[in-house]
Amino acid sequence: MAHIVLDSCAGRDGGREALEAAAIASLQLDHQITVVGDESDITAALQKIAHDAERLRVAHARDRCEPDMDAAEVLRQAPRNSVVVGLEIAARDPSAVFVSAGAPGLVVAGAQQILGRIPGVPNAALAAVYPTLRPHGPVSDLFALLLDVGATVECSGDDLVTFAAMGAAYAGKISRIDRPRVALLCNGHGISNAPARAREAHRRLLAAKPAFEYVGCIRADSVTSGDADVIVTDGFSGDVLLRTLEGVAATGESLLRRAAEKFQWRVGVQMLSDGISAIREFTDWENYGGAPLLGFDRAVMVTQADSGRRAFLNAIRLGAKIDRLQVIAGISAGVAEFHGLGAPPASPPDPEAP
């Protein structure tokens, strides 16, 4: 049973939808759920929502973070904010999964301060899934993994190879791929014109004998082809790429809405409505369950700032799956093997376990 620690101060409707997702999860899933935020607000809101109080706990966060503050400012001026309190709870419980729609910068900064780092991981990576044309692995997973998408903007070659090891271990556990295909994101002129960090990572990945298959460089126009199960890049480029993919999907949506201008077009769109709904469902980011923040000894899920009930619920489900499949231990082992660090230390036994 996982322990889901949910930050209810961010997300759609001022975090109200995060709370609703927690209430639904308490009724549908057999997990311990801790909702972090202003206790009196949460208790008042819970009165109106069907929930299971046996599975739901509230942790009070005294300070509220303002949206226009940067991470350092928040940690200084609002030290007992919901992200910090939530991460502290997660740090105390090995089965905890922290879920937040707070600013990724704040979550990363908070995690760096509070959580333990996986040995051999200098910097964390935010991993996002995106739909591809070819299925991946034995479960025909249609999604591939892209990391980093914003946790570490300034990356070194060492960071990139570590991201490759973490991403491969994650895909191996979640998509059950034995030897995930890992690629480096490059520009259109191949590795020779790539930045020094990418060249270094390319050289080291070619030289190493990793547990994954390194397939070399991949251009941005091929990321949706499905030729790679994991694509590695720095936080800046990854964020740009992810936003571009989301922007294209949003443009497609608005083009469809413009079709309503003409009667014939409207009829055409109506005839294609089933297919359009299927594509919409496939590309809807709320279905993916947020982005796992990899590199720490606890599972951390970051969802988009305007996440609704569905996005939070899927993030909770994915977080519980990460706990069940022991993905963090898998990443730890993957990184240790890649860097030749030997087996990671076994987690200490729970002193309260019978």
Binding site: E39, Q47, K48, I49, E54, R57
Partner: protein
């Protein structure tokens, strides 16, 4: 059914010295979904329930432990339990056997005359509960001077509504005119109305005897659905919560609380789930921090007899309330005037929304 209780007004010590009059406690329990885990949402469920043997019936976690603790042999002479169930009278044998298996011996066991209702064409009475239960409650009211009543129902039917009307009749807050309006709105049959009105004439203003009405949230209904009834109605997610409230009220001994905790844990409740349940009561202002501290002390004192579960529970509990230690939440208010017709129509509107517009009942 058993005989009427002994007169509680003048208890004496073995030496013949007069003691302070001890208060009688009358426990009123619904059966299905309150005491027993029963499914009767479909015809198939109904048939299955009807055909179940006593040993196949399962009590809600902690229910029998709580009832046994409340009916402790040392207190039994001053305690009485009445079951009022919507199950048909034909099930008396199997239900009595089930209660006997659980070690519970009811003083009174009232079941619904469904076959009679069917033969007389009183179809509304088969599904309706207001006329039947209100009449049964008034009929089985124990005319003792010093009596505290604790009522147990669930959110699957109209228990909170019926129990509150009953309590307010005794307290003298629902007069004949108001009661007639309620019964008419609830479409209670004329014969039942006459009987209820006759009981009302006898019992109106008997006193403030109903201390608490516990509603087991079998359907996990939102809590604000019970807010209009005031503090007398306590919605509970499990019987550990009920035991904690009764412990605070002085109606349950620490050993009883311990027995319920133990029963819940052996039924699969983790210390975290129990701790969450207590935190919920504390946040709602139903339970006070001082009570919880006292509970922790009592449970810790029992550590040596219980083994591991108690310290694990206490550890989980410290975690749950640690950050809320300074919480001073005012409890729900005791309502002196409840708008029963308003509550009835609101519930009816909600059911219609569910039926015709597909809006989920739990939203």
């Amino acid at each position: 059914m058993t005989s009427d209780p002994a007169d509680p007004s003048e208890p004496t010590s073995p030496e013949g010295q007069a003691l302070q009059p001890r208060r009688f406690m009358h426990l009123r329990w619904d059966l299905d979904k309150t005491y027993l885990r029963t499914e009767f949402d479909t015809v198939k469920d109904l048939i299955k329930t009807f055909r179940q043997k006593a040993e196949d019936k399962v009590a809600v976690a902690g229910a029998s432990a709580l009832l046994r603790a409340l009916l402790d042999p040392r207190e039994r002479s001053h305690r009485r339990v009445t079951f009022i169930s919507g199950s048909p009278r034909q099930m008396r044998k199997v239900l009595t056997a089930k209660l006997a298996l659980d070690g519970v011996e009811p003083d009174m066991f009232i079941l619904k005359p469904n076959l009679e209702n069917l033969l007389r064409g009183r179809f509304r009475a088969i599904r309706g509960q207001v006329g039947y239960k209100l009449k049964a409650l008034l009929l089985s009211h124990m005319a003792a001077e010093h009596v505290d009543e604790y009522l147990f129902g669930d959110d699957a039917e109209q228990d909170a509504f019926i129990y509150s009307v009953y309590a307010d009749i005794l307290a003298g807050r629902v007069d004949a005119v108001a009661l007639a309006a309620i019964l008419s709105t609830c479409k209670v049959y004329r014969g039942d109305v006459d009987e209820i009105m006759a009981y009302h004439r006898q019992l109106f203003g008997s006193g403030e005897v109903v201390r608490r009405i516990f509603i087991h949230l079998e359907r996990r209904s939102p809590l604000d659905r019970f807010a209009a009834y005031g503090a007398r109605v306590v919605a509970i997610y499990n019987y550990f919560q009920g035991a904690a409230v009764l412990f605070e009220a002085g109606a349950l001994e620490p050993r009883g609380l311990l027995a319920v905790t133990e029963a819940m844990e052996s039924d699969g409740y983790t210390p975290e789930r129990l701790a969450n349940s207590l935190q919920d009561l504390m946040r709602r202002g139903v339970l006070h921090f001082a009570t919880i501290e006292r509970m922790s002390r009592e449970l810790a004192a029992a550590e040596s007899t219980m083994g591991r579960p108690v310290p694990r529970f206490l550890h989980a509990f410290e975690d749950a309330i640690g950050s809320l230690e300074n919480l001073q939440r005012p409890g729900p208010r005791w309502e002196s005037e409840i708008n029963y017709l308003g509550i009835y129509h609101e519930a009816r509107f909600r059911r219609q929304q569910h039926r015709f517009l597909g809006i989920r009942l739990l939203d």
